[in-house]
């Protein structure tokens, strides 16, 4: 039991959330465009940078649920 505590909890259904970043960045035609721009940054760039942050959020949520 002690070891289980140490290495982490059971896998949960929340892990399906981890697929979201894959869909978001592998679906290239969706984001390969200039508009809409934010602060002059084309969609192609801010969409992917946004998913760096959202990727962290998703993993953080799954971690919270599992521990």
């Amino acid at each position: 039991m002690d070891n289980k505590e140490k290495t982490g909890a059971r896998a949960s259904w929340a892990r399906l959330l981890l697929l979201a970043p894959f869909v978001a960045v592998l679906w290239v035609p969706f984001y390969n465009s200039i508009e809409p721009k934010i602060f002059g940054v084309p969609f192609f760039y801010w969409w992917q940078l946004l998913w760096v942050v959202l990727g962290t959020v998703v993993i953080g949520i799954v971690y919270r649920i599992e521990h």
């Binding site: 140490k6 981890l18 960045v25 592998l26 390969n32 002059g40 084309p42 760096v52 971690y63």
Partner: protein
């Protein structure tokens, strides 16, 4: 030569050298044990692991090459961002399992795991050799990154005398790695990462202000480079869309199979530390994303047309865009800090890579095939010596071979390393595969991957596949590992019936939790 920048650069370098030697006393352990020298005693907590993995994965070469690719080729260079987005869910799910089984059985390398899981020493040898051959050119590329900034400081890096700064840096690196093992790069990584964050944040604030905002930066870039070229409307090809997506996915699947990443993961103190790091490591990806945009800023500043930097671009090509950007935008003392960040950023991964390959050589070749009766102290000593040999090898590599060749070999390395995916990643979940079938799949993957790369004269990582009447430009690593898995499945089916090797598995389900 820029005296101020060079002085700052040298001072920071001396500082990390001292740290490297002090590190042998940090979290003190018995360095005559391989897991102490080569894995830091598996004692690193969340924060140290964050610095170590960050310093290990986001290398000096990355910091030079990604912006250089954006500078030269445009949007396709941004694939580094989706790549580092997808890598962390994989880290979160798979690697705590591998950490757990490695901890339980005292495994130091991925090849150790494969040996225990499949009980096939030849498969384990193939995994070991793949790791060593894929890593060598990677170490050499770190030196290339270092060479570019030394050149940027105003030193002539051509000819025999030009190699002297690099040799000095390498002797230092070799000495502290030998004495302190993985503790040295772990400690230095903290300095490196702080310097990198400071440098990148300064650049992404100061340079756009100079240029008149991010809008101006993007407006200065050729519109054809701002986006991926859309595929032809008749559906005959998936064009750059497929290239971009497969580059990102294939790279993400390969990253943690590299020995230096695996070593850094195993050095953490628990599976929980790995999961936490999967959530906080993307901070580096954000930095990498902004850094990639520095390539566009270099375009907007018109650096390639600036006569001050003409010689640099002539010698180092687009790799000179980042050094030139800093020299054009910052005072000398800050250029010294930025260049030190890159050079120290080369030392950290180079140290971990040489330790990782030394671990593999010692565990999976020396102990397995040459001297099975060796003591733990002998094992650790051999690893220390092997780390020296690896570094001398990488140094000779840089002197003997032109940069384009090092790049081509690194491209091949990426294609090769992914071929251990069925044995290591899938092997962490299922014992369906037969050891011999995995070996045949490995050979098929290495063969097709190398063949496709050769068809491209080893220059391009994308090879067009023709599927159902459509051309799919696909990252070679991904298509060749698909071939690998297909062969491994087809050969496993009959072998599992007539010559099952499942009884050789020394791990049990509970080891992975």
């Amino acid at each position: 030569m820029d005296t101020v920048a060079t002085t700052v650069f040298v001072l920071l370098f001396v500082f990390v050298t001292v740290l490297g030697f002090v590190a042998s006393r940090w979290k003190r352990g018995d360095l005559t044990q391989l897991h102490e020298w080569g894995l830091g005693g598996r004692r690193f907590g969340t924060l140290i692991t964050w610095f170590l993995l960050g310093g290990d994965l986001y290398t000096a070469y990355t910091f030079i090459a990604v912006p250089a690719l954006m500078f030269g080729a445009g949007a396709i260079g941004f694939f580094a961002v989706p790549y580092t987005i997808m890598v962390y869910p994989i880290l979160y799910v798979v690697f705590p399992r591998l950490w757990a089984v490695a901890h339980r059985h005292g495994y130091v390398t991925s090849s150790d795991f494969v040996r225990g899981r499949f009980g096939n020493r030849w498969l384990a040898l193939a995994v070991a050799a793949t790791g060593i051959f894929a890593t060598m050119p990677y170490i050499a590329l770190q030196l290339v990154g270092m060479q570019v900034v030394i050149g940027g400081l105003g030193f002539d890096t051509t000819g025999l005398s030009g190699d002297v700064p690099l040799i000095i840096a390498f002797v230092i690196l070799a000495a502290f790695t030998y004495s302190a093992g993985l503790r040295a790069p772990a400690m230095i990584a903290i300095v490196k990462d702080v310097l990198i964050y400071v440098t990148v944040f300064a650049a992404i604030i100061v340079v756009p202000i100079k240029l008149g905002g991010y809008g101006a930066v993007f407006n200065a870039v050729d519109v054809n480079k701002l986006l991926l070229a859309p595929p032809p409307p008749d559906g005959s090809s998936l064009g750059q869309y497929a290239a971009y997506a497969t580059l990102a996915l294939g790279s993400a699947l390969a990253l943690f199979l590299y020995p230096h990443s695996f070593t850094a993961i195993l050095s953490s103190s628990s599976g929980r530390v790995i999961r936490r790091n999967a959530a906080i490591l993307p901070a580096y990806s954000l930095v990498l994303g902004f850094l990639a945009l520095l390539g566009f800023m270099a375009v907007a500043l018109g650096l390639s047309k600036d006569p001050t930097f003409a010689a640099g671009f002539k010698q180092y090509g687009n790799n000179f865009s980042i050094p030139a950007l800093f020299m054009a935008s910052f005072p000398s003392w800050f250029v010294g800090i930025a260049f030190a960040a890159i050079a120290i950023g080369a030392l950290v991964p180079a140290a971990i890579m040489s330790i990782a390959t030394a671990n593999i050589f010692t565990r999976n070749i020396y102990r397995e095939f040459i001297n099975p009766a060796c003591t733990d102290a002998q094992e650790s000593q051999v690893a220390k010596l092997a780390s020296l040999v690896v570094k001398v090898g990488a140094l000779l590599f840089v002197f003997a071979i032109d940069v384009p060749y090092a790049l081509q070999l690194q491209l091949l390395g990426g294609i090769w390393i992914i071929q251990i995916l069925p044995s290591v990643l899938i092997g962490a979940y299922t014992r369906f595969f037969n050891g011999w079938a995995l070996l045949m799949g490995w050979a098929a993957g290495i063969g097709t991957g190398t063949w496709m790369a050769a068809e491209n004269q080893f220059k391009v990582a994308i090879y067009p596949l023709h599927l159902f009447g459509t051309t799919v430009p696909c990252f070679i690593a991904l298509s060749s590992v698909a071939m690998n898995i297909a062969v491994a499945v087809i050969v496993s089916l009959p072998l599992n019936r007539v010559a099952s090797d499942r009884h050789k598995d020394v791990t049990v389900a509970g080891d992975y939790a």
